[in-house]
Symmetry: C2
Subunit: 254 residues, 2 copies
């Protein structure tokens, strides 16, 4: 007996395929990409369409993701306990730090942003909730990798893309950073993911002292750093926030 339901696995693969390709995809593309007969792919797509997970463009006949996914994805956020507990604290962090705040959890081979507070100025910013960040180069990713064994295992398999000249891609280098992250209790990212952008992040624990996520702030290096080092007051603010959320989740402070 198979471990997983075949049609469901295929349906999930289709959704991920549609999420990957920028444009809409045709039935033949989908079928060949997954190695399925056209009729098989069609049956799955028809059901997904009926359930609202997939939509079909009437003109071209091409398929794209459906609206029900947005509704369910938002509902996921509503039920998310870590996010609900963090909401209270992240606004304060954004205000005191003067920078954008991100709350992330481990998902597949990256960090999924579940909450995002804009930098408190009037500049136009795009909400990044639901977006993914890389594990090996961002402060959120590094802190999660350092404290979450599952994330650490994923890191080894993941392909570690170099985004800038300062991105660490070799495992030994990264392991050394993770060691230091564990020792100091927070992680940083200076020019390793985006040029001119720095970030700090600290881990959030639940009542079993398991790492369930991380908070961090991200901003221009010029504002975040002083003398080539991250401003200590920012690091302290981030760590305080992480501790507050952890306490709300039931984590005992040692």
């Amino acid at each position: 007996m198979a471990k997983h339901i075949q049609s469901l696995e295929r349906a999930a693969a289709m959704l991920r395929l549609l999420a990957g390709g920028e444009r809409r995809l045709g039935l033949s593309d989908i079928a060949s990409a997954l190695g399925l007969a056209k009729a098989t792919a069609h049956g799955i797509l028809r059901t997904l369409q009926h359930e609202g997970f997939v939509e079909q463009d009437p003109d071209s006949g091409r398929y794209q993701l459906g609206a029900e996914l947005l509704r369910l994805g938002t509902t996921y956020l509503d039920v998310h306990e870590l996010r609900a507990r963090a909401l209270v604290w992240t606004d304060d962090l954004a205000r005191s730090g003067g920078e954008a705040v991100y709350l992330g959890v481990v998902h597949q081979q990256g960090v999924l942003i579940v909450h995002h507070v804009f930098r408190p100025d009037d500049s136009r910013q795009v909400l990044e909730v639901g977006a993914m960040q890389p594990m090996h180069s961002t402060a959120l990713g590094k802190v999660l990798t350092a404290f979450d064994p599952v994330a650490h295992a994923e890191l080894v398999d993941a392909k570690r893309e170099p985004f800038t000249a300062r991105t660490l891609t070799e495992l030994p280098d990264i392991e050394r950073v993770l060691e230091r992250t564990r020792a100091q209790g927070y992680a940083t990212d200076m020019d390793e993911t985006w040029e001119g952008v720095a970030s700090v992040a600290a881990p959030i624990f639940d009542r079993h002292r398991l790492t369930v996520g991380a908070v961090g702030i991200t901003g221009a290096v010029e504002r975040m750093c002083r003398d080539g080092e991250l401003r200590p007051e920012l690091v302290a603010a981030v760590r305080d926030t992480a501790r507050s959320v952890s306490r709300d989740l039931g984590a005992k402070p040692f």
Copy 2:
């Protein structure tokens, strides 16, 4: 041969069930709610969990929606053509109107919010992207019902909940309003969904002159209305925005 794949329909029903119930649900609850054997429900849930659509609380064993739904839901927004085209115009509408702007599409028996621009002041507001609004009482819902035959058909079947004393729930009353909506090209909502809140919305058409969505602004009646009527300049601004987006989508202006 069945019209739809059984296991997929059941999986979708589970996700919707999990989205409905506020709290996490146990396996037995899910199985009995859908009339399935526990083993059957378990097999589906195991696959959904493996794909990231469902997560299981290690302590209680209960199930909740998974992070992959958030990721896919966000991707849906990224690919959404109407939303992409509307982004440019909605900011201007929010600024000129001084109120919150919503962009909605028909989904199931309601309006799914696919874009939301905050009212341009410094008050704290929660993003409502991914949320649903009722069809029969909001300006967005009424305008979509009036111009989209599919939405109109859904309205008849839907249960029309009375939210305030002014909510219309009887079909003949609603039909009369829809008639007027079609005639004047926009719809309004004054105290019909939330007490003290008014809204205006206008339809957006694609190149086939099919209604693909609607834009509207929502705010306190005191600001939105004058002498018991919606301020004409707000109505004009909303309709201009709808026309601009329609033109961007390829709709010919008659």
